[in-house]
Amino acid sequence: MNMEDGLCLTLGLPGRNEPDTESCYKNNNNNNNNKRSQPEYNDDSIESKGSSIAKESDMDTAPAPKSQVVGWPPVRNYRRINFQAKKVETESGIYVKVSMDGAPYLRKIDLKVYKGYPELLKALENMFKLTIGYKGSEYAPTYEDKDGDWMLVGDVPWEMFIVSCKRMRIMKGSEAKGLGCNV
């Protein structure tokens, strides 16, 4: 019943060879030798972190989310939720969903990555393998703004666009014809 058997440290003791990945952030119950082992994942916290975890993996720079010991570290829920949601937005860019009519699933792009409309449209064209804008295109890029209205991309200055854009939709077909594109 020696608890020391299950020690997991980020810094190894002298003579030990414990890589970082075996820290307690990943192993949470190997010390409970003589107990019924149950994975003690904090479901609430993982769900609430769900969206931010998705965003972090998009980034490719954030560390992989660790399996968490319930109630550790002792930080209250409201501190995690309130804070995490906002933090991801300020540090990792402005991610918006992009739907395309007829496509089975949506994509997400980071608006902060682009310097202006031309770059954004180029990226969308590459992502969805189509041409947007006039010249006979069937597609028009639209976005939902903070007021909930659907707007044509390109009318407002780029800086205003990226802070007011909540999501994008590439419209197709008869709805799109005639809208062209204002870029």
């Binding site: 107990k35 904090n42 319930v70 804070f83």
Partner: protein
């Protein structure tokens, strides 16, 4: 047997006794003092709602005007207490409405409060003045509407860190136009947007409003309007501190803040846009309390702020403050009594900020009045802890959380026993201690030997054997609250110190090594303790004696086994007299 003093004189003398502790003491002097005291006690504090019951309260104290109740164990804050465990205030409200129609104040912590309870409060107490709910849940904004609509004399509506079901912001519009007595409104934990015009009108007609804490949904652009309506504010919490940068908004904000000459306490600051920070600089030198623990601001903005707060006594901040910011605090905030540093990214092992043990050592050196510390960090050393202990023997509360469980001294790789030992040895008035890092039984020996004033101790992932628990239970004379998780403490220490448990408010042990059989035995031996086994994994009537329990909550009580337990909680030893299996 005649009294030495007439009753009226004694009653008058007792009226100067304000603390629960003093009043409890005088009640023990003799029967007549007990009688006298109970008739004139107006404020009652019940630290564990299950230690007594409403009938016991009412029988003893017939003239209560103010009641404070605490429910769930502290570890409920960290999701260790399953939902449905208990802490319902309902029965209390029902009884109090019946017996205390003149009740003025209800203060609850970690209790489940339903909308129906709030309605009963609103309609049942004509002179109701103060509602304070800290870390409570179970109610919605409908319940708040009932309070707003019915409590004509309300002074205080203080909702701190509650989980409220946010149905709409319309609740605030239920305060009647004739309602002008508001002194404190803290709605920071609410999510939904309240009607701004209702809020504005409420503030405008509340000349005694001293404390106003807005929620995140109140936009920055509207702040100056509110501050101009309430320049008498002493404590203020902003909403989201962000807006498109506009010189108009900025200059109104500057003017509004400088108009508040009595402002001593600031909080809020969600979603900070740094450009707007200087707007409140004029207030900094008067601040005694600053809560930036939601603010995503970093140094140097953060340093710029604290370096102007010469009169700061309480600082709550995220670890964005880093060691450099804390050095600034050490230089500037010579009146600092309390420091809390929260982790910005608690679930990542690698440090995302340059905050180490150095920052805390620096503050301990520079701030002579520092008494209370809550510090989250990723590394600690015995030498740092020893410095802190020697710098600040006046510490009364020391809570250190090293994010990685069982992390050793990062310099020597030794356990942190000696460091924490130094804390308890030097800080003779230490009342509260939370420990973390690699700790053996030795640290508990130090604690048992030295921590004679320790009132509350929190332990996690520490110790080697029952000896550790034994040192604490046998040595800490003043211990009232002990909470333990993931430690190899078992039956021996618990059973050997059974009588100690009657001198304490409560003991929590989860993921330890206490067997079901030991719990049964303890429950049988100690009729004045409720030994609650909490176990969601198994049928509580089919666990074998030798199996360890998942969670254990032991508390002294005069009310016997409680009647509102869910099926995953069982009070051991009460029914077992008749059930020998």
């Amino acid at each position: 047997m005649t009294h030495t003093f007439p009753e009226e004189v004694l009653e008058h003398v007792f009226s100067f006794l304000n603390t629960q502790h003093d009043r409890n003491t005088v009640s023990l002097v003799c029967k007549s003092w007990y009688e006298m005291e109970r008739w004139c006690r107006k404020r009652v504090f019940i630290g564990n709602c299950y230690a007594v019951n409403p009938r016991v309260l009412i029988q003893r104290f017939p003239e209560v005007k103010s009641i404070e109740l605490k429910g769930k164990p502290h570890f409920a804050d960290f999701n260790l207490v399953p939902e449905g465990w208990g802490g319902y205030v309902y029965d209390w409200i029902v009884e109090m409405v019946r017996v205390y129609p003149m009740l003025e104040e209800i203060k609850l912590k970690r209790m489940v409060v339903s909308d129906e309870c709030l309605e009963m409060i609103g309609k049942g107490f004509k002179y109701f003045r103060v509602l304070s709910l800290v870390s409570c849940d179970g109610f919605s904004t409908d319940g708040l509407a009932a309070i707003a609509a019915n409590c004509r004399n309300l002074r205080v509506l203080d909702l701190r860190e509650c989980e409220v079901e946010d149905l709409s912001g319309y609740w605030m519009s239920h305060f009647p136009d004739s309602f002008t007595s508001l002194e404190c409104l803290n709605m920071a934990c609410l999510n939904s947007e309240v009607s701004f015009s209702a809020l504005e009108r409420l503030v405008a007609r509340s000349p005694n409003l001293k404390i106003l804490r807005l929620n995140r949904a109140v936009p920055l652009e509207k702040l100056s309007t509110l501050l101009q309506l309430a320049p008498q504010l002493v404590e203020f919490g902003t909403g989201a501190y962000s807006a498109d940068v506009s010189t108009d908004v900025y200059s109104s904000l500057v003017a509004a803040f400088s108009g508040c000459k009595d402002l001593k306490d600031l909080s809020g600051f969600w979603d900070v846009v740094p450009a707007y920070l200087p707007a409140f600089y004029s207030v900094c030198s008067r601040l005694t309390c600053l809560n930036l623990s939601y603010a995503t601001i970093k140094c140097p903005d953060l340093t710029k702020i604290v370096s102007q707060c010469h009169n700061l006594q309480r600082l709550l901040v995220l670890d964005y403050i880093e060691d450099t910011g804390l050095n600034s605090v050490a230089l500037t905030c010579k009146d600092l009594r309390e420091l809390r540093v929260f982790p910005s990214d608690p679930f990542v092992a690698d440090p995302n900020v340059l905050l180490t043990e150095e920052g805390l050592v620096s503050v301990s050196k520079g701030c002579p009045k520092l008494q209370s510390v809550l510090y989250f960090c990723r590394q600690m050393s015995n030498s740092a802890l020893i410095s802190i202990a020697q710098n600040r023997p006046n510490l009364t509360c020391f809570r250190l959380c090293i994010l990685e469980p069982r992390a050793p001294d990062y310099l020597t790789f030794e356990p942190l026993d000696v460091g924490f030992g130094s804390i308890v040895e030097n800080c003779k008035d230490l009342k509260r201690l939370s420990m973390s890092g690699l700790l053996t039984d030795r640290v508990f020996e130090y604690i048992g030997t030295h921590a004679k004033k320790l009132d509350m101790l929190s332990i996690a992932f520490a110790g080697d054997s029952d000896l550790g628990l034994h040192y604490v239970l046998s040595g800490c004379e003043s211990l009232r609250k002990l909470e333990i998780r993931d430690c190899p403490f078992g039956d021996k220490a618990l059973l050997a110190n059974a009588s100690k448990l009657e001198t304490m408010r409560s003991l929590w042990m989860s993921s330890c090594n206490v067997s079901f059989g030991a719990c049964k035995l303890l429950g049988q031996k100690m009729p004045d303790l409720n030994v609650e086994v909490i176990d969601e994994r198994e049928n509580l009537y089919s666990i074998s004696e030798s199996d360890p329990v998942e969670k254990l909550y032991i508390y002294r009580t005069v009310a016997g086994e409680r009647s509102d337990m869910p099926n995953f909680v069982r009070t051991m030893g009460k029914d077992d007299m008749y059930n020998l299996s």
